[in-house]
Symmetry: C2
Subunit: 223 residues, 2 copies
Amino acid sequence: MRVSELAERSGVPVATIKYYLREGLLPAGAATSATQATYDEAHVERLRLIRVLREIGGVPVAAVGAVLAAVDDPTQPLPDVIALAHHALGPPPPDEPSAEHVAARAEVAAFVAGRGWQVEDEAPSIDALAAALVALRGVTGPCGAEVFTPYADAVDGLADFELAWIDETRGVGHTIGQIVVGTVVYEQALVALRRLAEEHYSGERFGRRRRPPSRRRTPRPAP
Amino acid sequence: MRVSELAERSGVPVATIKYYLREGLLPAGAATSATQATYDEAHVERLRLIRVLREIGGVPVAAVGAVLAAVDDPTQPLPDVIALAHHALGPPPPDEPSAEHVAARAEVAAFVAGRGWQVEDEAPSIDALAAALVALRGVTGPCGAEVFTPYADAVDGLADFELAWIDETRGVGHTIGQIVVGTVVYEQALVALRRLAEEHYSGERFGRRRRPPSRRRTPRPAP
């Protein structure tokens, strides 16, 4: 297909496709003349993956390159690719962690290990959880990592569900792409659903918003 | 207390406190001389709230001002403050939604209503969920909003848990501050826990990371 069709199929504008080609995020098409090239399904799939990382995950272009390099390396073990995607998605661990953060990090790591979850010692999500614990303590006073138990219970079955959804018959690159997309897209879905649930239940408890429902204009009967 | 103690108590550097004072995010202290002022517990609490919004929520300074103005207005209904916090936390809804997005948005809104959740028609989280659905379809092919059911089930009990944790005896401003903090902090915790669960379960399914465990140096016995 030509670049115009590639743009239409992937939802990525031609100018952005050319930028990704220059940056090496997208492999060059097969040249059909000095100024034209043709692209295939692999290009469509790659562009959709880049789009998810950029638009849904908010991943910077440079970090997209690192994730794609891992996706393209068939010798890279899947858990390494997932760890890399988590690093790219941020937030970055603090450069100079405070004493409070270091203490909270140790408690959070013990909490995670206590659930039987085996994760890297340096997983950035442990730092994110420690930062959340420090912030909670600042606002509500002393509390332990066990405040996160209902949240850990809530996510415990989701990873299994997502991994079951993976189609491994289409090759390692495709599988890895699916996992990275799942990480980014289902994370956005989870956050959005939680906010909607919060809006609903806070409305139940504290009353609905006062703003009157927007009036739909009734179409006038034809004369 | 003096500004130096305020900095220590809140974990916010003096220069940043002065910036927040200039921007009107933090009310002025009581003047004790031409160049000095004294601050109280309300200042500590306010700074912690700003810190959570900025550092954990990644909320821009301008949007922090809008959230604080809502927190400070005792006539503002709580659900309105929560809706404002959700807008401030982003992502912003698309300026010019595609036809795909518009269709996905209608499906997602029907899915949310089908669960009995009552939310604003224009809730930005409905757009975020629609964007996730469009992205999923681009990668996995046709699917409906019901793919989000396990995620909606997972968060259904969490909002109740968080609202139960609210201490309403300390005044409306405090309650609203707690809800906003809960939104931001527990959201970060939820995302972090989901990534940790994903790392663990993908390790169970696809094998652990190959990197050898870091060797701890055994301290040499004292000579």
